[in-house]
C-alpha cells in the first residue's frame, strides 16, 4: 500500500510533469506503441523513489532525467532500435504546400470508436506523422517549432499534416472507416 503522504507527493509531481514527460517520450520513441509503457516506467520509478525518500525535494528536471534514462533503458533492454532517423531521404515526398484545407473531420468522426479508428490510423502511419499530429494538435506547438524539433522543413510538416488529414477524410468517405 502507498501511504497518503507519498501518494500526495506523487499526485503533485505527476500533475506537474505528465504533459512534459509524455511529450518527451512521444518525440523520442521509435514506436508509438511503446509510449504508455515508457511513461508508466518513469512514474513507477518515481513512486519507488518517493517511497524510499520521504523528504524528496527534487524538481521537474529530475523527473525529466528519469524519463530520458527510461527511454534509453527501454530500447536498450528491449533490443529495439533506438531513436530512428526520421528523414534520411529528404526527397522522399513531394511538397504540397497548396493542399486544400477543406477538410472537416468533425463532421465525419464523432463517436468514441471513431476516435479509436483515427488513433489506429495514425499509429499505422510513419512514426513522424503521429508525432507531428500529437505536437501540433495536442500540445499546440506551432509548425515552425515542430520543424525545428525534428529538423525538417516547415513545408514537410504541413505536407504531413494535410496529406494525412486528406487521406483520413477520403478513407471515411469511401466507406473504409467504421462510421461510414
Amino acid at each position: 500500500m502507498i501511504d497518503q503522504k507519498t501518494l500526495n507527493m506523487f499526485d503533485k509531481l505527476y500533475n506537474e510533469t505528465y504533459s512534459n514527460v509524455l511529450k518527451y517520450v512521444i518525440c523520442n520513441c521509435s514506436n508509438v506503441e511503446d509510449v504508455k509503457d515508457i511513461v508508466q516506467n518513469v512514474y513507477l520509478e518515481l513512486l519507488k523513489i518517493l517511497k524510499k525518500d520521504k523528504l524528496f525535494n527534487k524538481g521537474k528536471n529530475y523527473i525529466m532525467g528519469i524519463t530520458k534514462n527510461k527511454v534509453n533503458e527501454y530500447y536498450r533492454f528491449n533490443y529495439k532500435a533506438k531513436i530512428v532517423s526520421l528523414f534520411s531521404k529528404k526527397d522522399d515526398f513531394i511538397l504540397l504546400d497548396n493542399i486544400s484545407d477543406n477538410i472537416d473531420l468533425e463532421d465525419e468522426f464523432i463517436k468514441k470508436e471513431d476516435l479509436k479508428f483515427i488513433l489506429d490510423f495514425l499509429k499505422k502511419k510513419k512514426v513522424i506523422i503521429f508525432k507531428i499530429f500529437y505536437l501540433y494538435y495536442y500540445t499546440d506547438m506551432n509548425i515552425k517549432d515542430i520543424s525545428l524539433e525534428f529538423n525538417i522543413s516547415e513545408s514537410n510538416v504541413k505536407h504531413y499534416l494535410y496529406r494525412t488529414l486528406n487521406e483520413l477524410k477520403t478513407i471515411m468517405r469511401n466507406g473504409d472507416g467504421k462510421n461510414v
Partner: protein, 202 residues
C-alpha cells in the same frame, strides 16, 4: 490553415489515448500489482526453499534406491555332497544341475538333516516354504534340534537343515522392499538306490 474542428477531433483522439488521470490509475494499479507480487515472493521464498530442499532430498534418496534396485537381487545356495575321496564337500547348487547329496546316514550322521546353506545378495530376506518335508533348527553347540515347521524367514546367511523325503520341494522367495524379487525351487529327487539329488529350478 487547418480548421479548428479538426483540431478538436484530433485533440480528443490523443485525450482518449493519453488521458492523464487514466494513465495515473494504470500506474498506481501496476505499482500495487508489482508490490503484491514482490510481497508474495518475499513470503513464499522460505517455504518454497524448504519444499525444493525436501524435493532434492527425496530425489537423492530415490536415486539411491534406483541404484540399489539396479543391483540384481539374488542368492547362492550350497549343498553338501561326497567328494571322490569320501569327504563331505560344500558345492554350490546351480540352476538345473542335479547334485548328488551326501548320504545322510554315513557322513552326515552328526547333523539332524540335509544341510543347505543360503547366502543372501541384495535381498532383505528369503522366505522358505517346504512341502513334503520340514525345516530343522539345530544349535551345533548344545546339539538341540527344533522342528520349525514348513515355513521360515531367513534374514542372514545361514545353514538350514531339512528333513526330506522323495519329492520334497523347497520354495525360496527373495524379498526386497516388501516385493518378491525372485523365486526358486529346490526339488529333492531320489533314484532306485535311494540316492538323493537336489535340483535348483526357477
Amino acid at each position: 490553415m487547418v480548421k479548428m474542428s479538426n483540431k478538436k477531433v484530433i485533440k480528443k483522439v490523443f485525450d482518449e489515448e493519453y488521458n492523464s488521470e487514466r494513465v495515473k490509475q494504470q500506474i498506481l494499479l501496476k505499482y500495487e500489482r508489482k508490490n503484491k507480487i514482490f510481497k508474495i515472493m518475499r513470503y513464499s521464498i522460505v517455504p518454497v526453499f524448504f519444499v525444493l530442499l525436501s524435493f532434492i532430498v527425496i530425489l537423492l534418496n530415490n536415486s539411491e534406491n534406483i541404484l540399489d534396485d539396479n543391483i540384481i537381487s539374488t542368492m547362492r545356495v550350497y549343498a553338501y555332497t561326497m567328494s571322490e575321496d569320501d569327504n563331505m564337500e560344500k558345492v554350490e547348487l546351480r540352476d538345473n544341475v542335479k547334485l548328488l547329496l551326501s548320504g545322510y546316514n554315513f557322513a552326515m550322521s552328526s547333523v539332524p538333516g540335509y544341510p543347505i546353506m543360503f547366502e543372501l545378495h541384495n535381498v532383505d530376506y528369503l522366505k522358505i516354504d517346504v512341502t513334503n518335508g520340514t525345516i530343522l533348527d539345530w544349535d551345533n553347540i548344545t546339539g538341540e534340534v527344533n522342528n520349525i515347521g514348513s515355513t521360515y524367514k531367513l534374514f542372514d546367511d545361514n545353514t538350514l537343515y531339512f528333513n526330506v523325503s522323495i519329492n520334497t520341494n523347497i520354495k525360496i522367495t527373495g524379498i526386497k522392499n516388501k516385493k518378491e524379487v525372485f523365486e526358486k525351487n529346490i526339488t529333492i529327487l531320489s533314484d532306485d538306490s535311494f540316492n538323493y539329488y537336489a535340483v535348483l529350478k526357477y
